[in-house]
């Protein structure tokens, strides 16, 4: 059963999903909220860019092999 979640709850789930797989219910709540919330569409795109650029910055993307002995 899905329920309405707030924008703030949405940011919490976006953060949580970096550590663990969301439950099916959480995933659905998240998707449904984002679908009809322009501010959260913007914010999740921002997080997406932030996370992917951060990986590049920290060298976690494709460069690990270089550093192994």
């Amino acid at each position: 059963m899905t329920q309405r979640i707030s924008c703030k709850d949405t940011t919490w789930l976006v953060s949580e999903s970096r550590e663990r797989a969301l439950t099916q219910e959480e995933q659905q709540n998240l998707e449904r909220h984002i679908e009809r919330c322009p501010a959260c569409q913007g914010a999740s795109k921002q997080f997406e860019v932030l996370f992917s650029q951060l990986k590049h910055y920290l060298g976690n993307s494709d460069s690990k092999e270089n550093a192994k002995d």
């Binding site: 707030s6 924008c7 703030k8 709850d9 940011t11 919490w12 976006v14 953060s15 949580e16 970096r18 550590e19 322009p38 501010a39 959260c40 569409q41 913007g42 914010a43 795109k45 921002q46 997080f47 860019v49 932030l50 992917s52 650029q53 951060l54 990986k55 590049h56 910055y57 920290l58 060298g59 976690n60 494709d62 460069s63 690990k64 270089n66 550093a67 192994k68 002995d69």
Partner: protein
């Protein structure tokens, strides 16, 4: 590789010493250990200069070498640490992620107080460098413990139980630290990153 190019790598790498040291110190909490890890990273970069083919930026390459140095030190340390059990059991296990700065972003119903523009990924080298420069200062503004937890997760890629052990925090508190770090970084980038 000719000696001229190696010399250039050595010189450029030395320029990253302060940021490497800062990253190492945040994780290792010990000036001597951080200095050693930094020094070993720079030496490894010079020794293995030939394997650096410019596939990634020099900074990226140095960070990935330092990452392994830090993980090695942590592994050695935790052999001793495990006996004294790191997690001391702080009490706030709830999902209480309410904090002033984050609260101010939302109205009473938990809706974003202001509209959010989607960012577009920086494409060119110059755009990316600009993004990284702001990202670096934004990360430097994170509170120390928040930054340490965040980089353990996103850079060292430790699993959450290992981070809880290293930091002596509960799983609930770690989730809050990581949430705050991400919220704060997004906000800082939104305020300071000049987009076209």
């Amino acid at each position: 590789m000719d000696s001229g190019l190696l010399k250039t790598i050595a010189e450029e790498a030395a320029g990253y010493r302060p940021v490497l040291y800062r990253m190492a110190l945040t994780q290792l909490k010990n000036a001597a250990a951080a200095e050693d890890a930094t020094q070993e990273t720079l030496l490894a970069a010079i020794e293995k200069g030939a394997s650096f083919e410019g596939r990634s930026s020099l900074r990226t390459w140095l960070f990935s070498i330092l990452r392994f140095k830090i993980l090695d030190v942590m592994r050695d340390q935790s052999k001793f640490k495990r006996f004294s059990a790191g997690y001391t059991g702080d009490r706030s296990e709830s999902n209480d992620y309410e904090v002033g700065a984050i609260d101010a972003l939302f109205d009473d119903c938990g809706c974003w107080a202001e509209p959010k523009d989607a960012w577009t990924n920086p494409h060119t080298v110059a755009e990316r460098d600009a993004f990284f420069k702001v990202l670096e200062s934004c990360m430097a503004c994170l509170p120390e413990r928040t930054s340490r937890a965040f980089l353990m997760r996103e850079w060292l890629e430790l699993e959450t139980p290992e981070i809880c052990l290293q930091l002596g925090v509960s799983p609930g508190n770690l989730r809050i630290l990581l949430y705050r770090a991400r919220m704060q970084l997004r906000l800082c980038m939104d305020l300071h990153w000049e987009r076209n």
